[in-house]
């Protein structure tokens, strides 16, 4: 898929109309992720009940890839069990960060259309921003994660 097609068919829809952007009233988990290369920030809020993500919101702004990826993320995790969410996170990271072809396509579902981002190495950070916030919300609630400058992996430095 060439870049224009990737943007036109996948990214722009979510960029222009990102899903789940209404602030939650009573989130019980929340975290932020910041991309130091552009200063963009995404916050993720979760409502978790009985081991299940009953509601999710992503707030903040950024480039089309980070917004689209975070928006798709909210759709992918809403209503899922935490176990499922963890598994999806792992597969998404395998696809985007490792750029490995060996991820579980079935588990990723619609997210597979983001595969083309893996070859845009400098944009891996963008694609991971919302996901890193999600991961922090689950494992280190309240954290403000910085994406590492070089390899797009979430870094543990806190404010």
């Amino acid at each position: 898929m060439d870049l224009k097609t990737l943007y036109r068919e996948v990214i722009l829809d979510h960029y222009k109309q990102p899903r789940n952007t209404a602030e939650l009233r009573n989130p019980n988990r929340e975290a932020k992720c910041r991309n130091p290369s552009c200063g963009d920030k995404i916050s993720v809020q979760l409502s978790i009940e009985d081991g299940r993500v009953t509601d999710v919101a992503m707030l903040g702004n950024g480039c089309a890839i980070s917004q689209a990826s975070a928006s798709m993320m909210t759709e992918a995790v809403k209503g899922r069990s935490i176990e499922d969410v963890e598994a999806v996170m792992a597969e998404f990271s395998e696809m985007i960060v490792k750029g490995s072809p060996d991820f579980d396509r079935a588990r990723l579902g619609d997210l597979v259309i983001m595969e083309g981002v893996a070859r845009l190495h400098a944009r891996v950070r963008c694609a991971m921003c919302g996901w890193s916030a999600l991961e922090a919300a689950l494992h280190d609630p309240g954290a403000e994660i910085n994406l590492d400058n070089e390899d797009g992996m979430p870094a543990s430095s806190r404010g």
Partner: protein, 420 residues
Amino acid sequence: MMNSDSPAGAGISSGFDVAAIRQDFPALQRTVNEFPLVYFDNTAATLKPRQVIDCITRVYSDFPANVHRGIHMLSEEATNAYEETREKLARFINAASSDEIIYTLNTTDSINHVCGSWGEANIGPGDEIIVTDMEHHANFVPWQQLCKRKGARLQVVGVLGSGQLNREEFDRKLSERTKLVAVAHVSNVSGVVNPIPELARQAHAVGAMFVADCAQSVPHMPIDVQTLGADFIAFSAYKMLAPFGVGILWGRRALLDAMPPYRTGGNMIAEVSREDTRFNVTPHKFEAGTPSIADVIATGAAIDYLEALGMDAIYNHEKKISRYLHERLAALPGLRIIGDYFEGKPAIASFHLDYAHPHDIAQFLNEEGVAVRSGLHCAEPLHNALGLNSSTRASLYLYNTNEEIDRLVAAIETVAEIFA
């Protein structure tokens, strides 16, 4: 001894022959997605002419030896060429003596030398250091952190809507408490050229030291440290056609002589005993360990290249393409350039588009073969001051042309099509 071929563009009858100059740069032969490369990321690093590349090859093929006056032939050749670059650099910026030229790793390292040596020794509680909002992090964070360590106060001078330094605020913040003023000669984001001679005169009048970050001026315009007025200047060789791995710190001899060394170890010493060490003289006391020998020698080849073209001619060419760049960009709907255009502005334009994010812009520009930077350009305080998250920067150099600017404009129009 290490004199290189003249640049093709320096022919007698040709004036400034960009087409010929371009032949010297192998990277300009590259294509991206079948488009010829348009390289507009020169603020981050310039391309290298074959004269510089060949010089590196020659050093590593013929005399890849360590310096410091080893007696064997290869070391002698390396030492001579290494010290010859110091002479060339001194002449290039009109330093009083080549002893005032110190080789470091990069501009950041040069500024850390002044901060870690002069700053550590001279800054105390209650003192103030002035920087500006338009500094690169290299000329901001070291002073900020020094102030934190020393209980001193960082005074940050803002910028006006035009992108220019707020002189009134500068005058107000400068006081008897000011011990050091650190200002970029040319902003790497807005291209603003600060009036260093005047600012330095004001700083000296209150007894403050003046550091000019010349990373974006020395490569682009003639610089004479005798008239610039700063006490220290810092710049990077790789931003002026030379290899990575060499920064330069110039300082007034008397100041350098009085400063303690920054790093310690081999070659910067005169005598070492179990109990104590006597240090070598300026500049050697600042050059601990084995330097980037081949990169330094090839920096000499880069200076030969620039001097053959002439810094006046280079600056004139840049002014011309800068005017065209700004005209063309200003005409694009939804595009705003950081800072007002002014006559003589270096060919740097950082901009934002109403309808697209800098990272997406850079991505699509790359798709069309146009290389630009997007992000904060290591100048977060400036972006904060302007209320911007980030920007897209096109920065040009001596080999760039109006035709390439047309390519940039066409590529931005493609972005508009996709995002609009």
